[in-house]
């Protein structure tokens, strides 16, 4: 298929940036979206032009590096997938596709479609862990009984890959879905309860410092999240924070 691409080009963090139009031809429907961009970049390099910078790593939906706001949605129009898992069969011959970086004050643009998402890492570092060493005298994994339902919910929350699609989709550029997944995965387990109050307090403090917006429960994050993290986690986060503050 032949496509028209409208891609955000920006040379550096300070550059103003603009949408530039490109044509790509003979794209196979079996290609992933990133492979389609590889084809474009090969074309550009052959013509002596600067290739489009975009993030990627695993290309199998686990690392969370690939970003991109495609035709107005984080990770494109498909559901429960990352951009590397988006296939060109989702589009039709002759389509025009807008490709923009994830936009948020907390995600400054480095170049073209590459944004700096380390704000999410700093939130994680502020409390998204359990302070015990696992080497040497590791306890038997089954020594603490945990209800199946709690274990399942915790595991669901732990599938968050920190991709930032929730921030990119939210009209307020809020990181609450990410936060809530990171808080919930520990809050549901006895090992996580010990530091629960400090964890949620410190992580929220860091989140606010990074310049993310405030959640208004629009639910856009939940729809666009590649891992299906539920808004129920945000309610849990709100409960945890209230508990920690009184």
């Amino acid at each position: 298929m032949n496509l028209t691409l409208k891609i955000w080009r920006q040379k550096s963090p300070k550059d103003k940036g603009q949408i530039v139009e490109y044509k790509v031809n003979d794209i196979s429907e079996h290609m992933s979206f990133l492979e389609m961009l590889d084809v474009l970049n090969e074309d550009l390099v052959a013509k002596g032009e600067e290739p489009v910078a975009f993030d990627h790593d695993c290309r199998e939906g686990i690392c969370g590096m690939c970003s991109l706001h495609i035709n107005g949605e984080a990770h494109g129009p498909d559901r429960l997938i990352t951009t590397c898992q988006l296939h060109m069969r989702t589009f039709k011959d002759g389509d025009t596709i807008f490709i923009e970086p994830f936009r948020s004050k907390a995600f400054p643009i480095i170049k073209d479609l590459v944004v700096d998402r380390s704000a999410l890492d700093r939130i994680q570092q502020a409390g998204g862990f359990i302070s015990v060493n696992t080497s040497g005298n590791t306890q038997d994994a089954n020594a603490i009984p945990i209800a199946k339902a709690a274990a399942d919910e915790s595991m669901d929350a732990a599938t968050c890959i920190g991709c930032g699609a929730c921030v990119a989709s939210c009209k307020n550029a809020s990181a609450m879905l990410f936060m809530s997944a990171k808080v919930s995965q520990y809050a549901l387990l006895p090992q996580g309860r010990v530091e629960a109050a400090d964890r949620v307090t410190n992580m929220i403090k860091q989140m606010d410092k990074e310049g993310f917006g405030n959640c208004t429960n629009t639910g856009a994050c939940e729809v666009e999240c590649p891992k299906g993290i539920s808004l129920n986690n945000i309610a849990r986060l709100n409960r945890e924070y209230l508990k920690a503050s009184i």
């Binding site: 409208k6 955000w8 949408i19 706001h69 035709n71 107005g72 949605e73 129009p77 807008f98 923009e100 936009r103 948020s104 004050k105 907390a106 989709s169 009209k171 307020n172 550029a173 809020s174 307090t201 929220i204 403090k205 989140m207 606010d208 310049g211 993310f212 917006g213 405030n214 959640c215 208004t216 429960n217 629009t218 639910g219 856009a220 729809v223 666009e224 539920s230 808004l231 129920n232 945000i234 309610a235 849990r236 986060l237 709100n238 409960r239 924070y241 209230l242 503050s245 009184i246």
Partner: protein, 210 residues
């Protein structure tokens, strides 16, 4: 606790509490207004009760504070959220992932505010500053005015839209939401929004044409 309310999550909690307080107030107000359907005597008795009952007198300034707090916090929230994405998307398919109501709370909210100002000028100030003998006549007279009735209907459409998102949103913000209650919360929110909006609208329409 002071750290709590200055955080983003705490500010939202305050927003939800004031919102829920207004949700409760609306129900009381609607019940009072519905007595219009029972004729002049029962509505005038209700107005008399509202004007003299000590509990209502204590609640009135609280209600005013609640409104002001909700509106100011709402505007601060909106400004903060707007500045969190300084460069907007060229193409943003928001309809694919969220409802119009959830994205436009500030617009529906400000419309309610505009109506509130009108309501205070047309009804609340007259009944507080002059001695109104017959509340029923005053209210029904206002509804006869096509412009007033039209604005009234429009305002309650906006209120219904505000509540359609606000009701269930406030239960997530306060942490009440859980998977097993969510369906019930959503249904309850829709029923509440429809009852309140259509309740007030039916009064305006009935007395305009009656």
């Amino acid at each position: 606790m002071s750290g709590y309310f200055s955080s983003s999550v705490g500010r939202k909690f305050f927003m939800a509490l004031t919102g829920l307080f207004l949700v409760f107030f609306l129900l009381v107000h609607l019940i009072a207004n519905l007595t219009l359907f029972f004729g002049a005597d029962s509505f005038n008795a209700t107005a008399e009760f509202m004007g003299t009952n000590p509990v209502i007198q204590v609640m009135q300034p609280l209600l005013a504070l609640g409104f002001i707090a909700h509106i100011i916090t709402g505007i601060i929230l909106e400004l903060k959220n707007n500045s969190s994405r300084p460069i907007k998307y060229t193409k943003n398919n928001v309809g694919a992932n969220s409802t119009w109501m959830s994205r436009n709370m500030i617009i529906t909210g400000l419309m309610i505010f505009a109506f509130l100002a009108l309501h205070i000028i047309n009804y609340f100030i007259p009944i507080k500053t002059t001695h109104v003998e017959n509340h029923y006549e005053l209210v029904v007279g206002l509804f006869k005015n096509p412009i007033y009735a039209g604005i009234y209907v429009l305002a309650f459409i906006f209120l219904g839209l505000h509540l359609m998102h606000g009701f269930q949103s406030s239960l997530t913000t306060t942490g009440i939401r859980q998977e097993k209650y969510q369906k019930c919360i959503k249904t309850l929110g829709t029923i509440y929004s429809l009852v309140v909006a259509l309740g007030f609208i039916s009064i305006a329409v009935w007395f305009h044409f009656a």
